[in-house]
Symmetry: C2
Subunit: 249 residues, 2 copies
């Protein structure tokens, strides 16, 4: 009998932000397929005989291509295994969970999705920044921070629209493009004094937050390439009062 594949979001990093359903599935999994974005500490929940397969390290050449991951998931399920595909954050928030699901459906392999806390919301919260706030932001906008070299016109048009949005802007995986994203938003009409922050390793013990404005954030951010997210909007100002981590006893 074909097994089931569970696409599980592990949340932004803090082990406490895994869901109960995610824990239950990890504990009973026969195979776990995980990548660099999922905290390896989660694997301690697995059975001793669980096969743990690592499929990717950030920004190096050892990442397994998505097609191979898709095929691996289907193959393990066809062997009758209960498979957990563990992802950082949420499987459908830039997590390529949709591609995995479509492949499994096409192959006739049953799958389920277990949503997770996304860093775009939960990471911000740990950084003291509420993604919405009454009278400050009645919308938020989560945008892939990768910029395309192939379609600069499309990108310019998109950023013109983003620049008109009044809500909170969150750029995931945007840490290495901060200068360019900030420049595009200012070109699009966002004030250079709009508050902005970059969060690195949000919700983990090594969390770092850099705070500035659209004009200054590029220079303030780390030069090294670290995974991080950029947030732009008035809600960043609330951080001085809502940062609870640095006030923990």
């Amino acid at each position: 009998m074909t097994g089931t594949v569970y696409l599980v979001g592990a949340g932004p990093g803090d082990e406490g932000l895994l869901t109960l359903r995610g824990l239950e599935l990890l504990e009973s999994a026969q195979v776990v397929v995980y990548d660099y974005l999922a905290n390896p500490r989660f694997l301690k929940h697995c059975r001793e005989d669980c096969e743990k397969i690592y499929v990717g390290k950030k920004a190096d050449n050892h990442t397994m291509p998505q097609e191979e991951i898709n095929a691996l998931l289907a193959q393990k399920a066809r062997e009758g295994k209960r498979v957990v595909r563990l992802k950082g954050g949420d499987p459908y928030t830039f997590g390529r969970g949709g591609e995995e699901g479509l492949h499994l459906r096409a192959q006739g392999v049953p799958f389920e999705v277990v949503p997770g806390v996304t860093s775009a919301i939960g990471g911000l919260a740990y950084g003291g920044i509420p993604v919405t706030h009454r009278n400050l932001a009645s919308s938020f906008h989560v945008i892939a921070g990768h910029l395309s070299k192939e379609h600069p016109e499309g990108e310019e048009k998109r950023y013109r629209t983003y620049g008109e949005l009044e809500g909170t802007l969150v750029f995931l995986m945007g840490a290495r493009n901060i200068h360019r994203i900030a420049a595009r938003l200012m070109e699009a009409g966002k004030s250079p004094t709009t508050p902005a922050a970059v969060l690195y390793r949000a919700t983990t013990p090594r969390q770092e937050v850099v705070e500035g404005t659209l004009e200054t954030i590029g220079a303030l951010a780390h030069r090294e390439e670290k995974p991080g997210l950029l947030v732009v909007g008035e809600v960043v100002r609330l951080r001085k009062d809502l940062d609870f981590l640095s006030r923990r006893p």
Copy 2:
């Protein structure tokens, strides 16, 4: 000694989507302050001597004003209690968690935030809709679906911008304004054939999904006022393959 207030997101409804940290806090809480959006089943995790205070029922007149909730949280903490403020979804995603946090800070009461899975992402996933998908949506936009009668010009301007966005649009608490939201988006240039869906009670056993297009969704949606969310974008098309709930054995 002053106690601590924990602003905890319970997730969209499914009990399995509570976080491990949320569970731990519920189990040890001396006071839980909860409202209609948080599934009352979560209260089974509480100690027998935990004081459970209900502060609001949707769309009736028995809701405790936000200022009174703020004051209640601070008062209970000042009595030395470990207080959980349990909210549906995520505390900072239109959850007024920021207001509660600011009040507690001003009163010198320690607080922490425990993010939860938002229905804007997790509810969609249970409805078979990935909030992002490679080549279909590289951004998503979560917007309060309440429309203001006071500032129609501001609203028109905002919807003109939303209409230009290429990513997935999610309107929370938008179920009763579907006709008007859809009309505004079409006025702003969105094609009437853009796929759209309304999700009711997402992730619960009584989940319902109504699928159509921007042009048809207003007529297809339920007339009664039910809490629901509206999603607009090409990703809705993936539902036919990614809906896993109705295929569960």
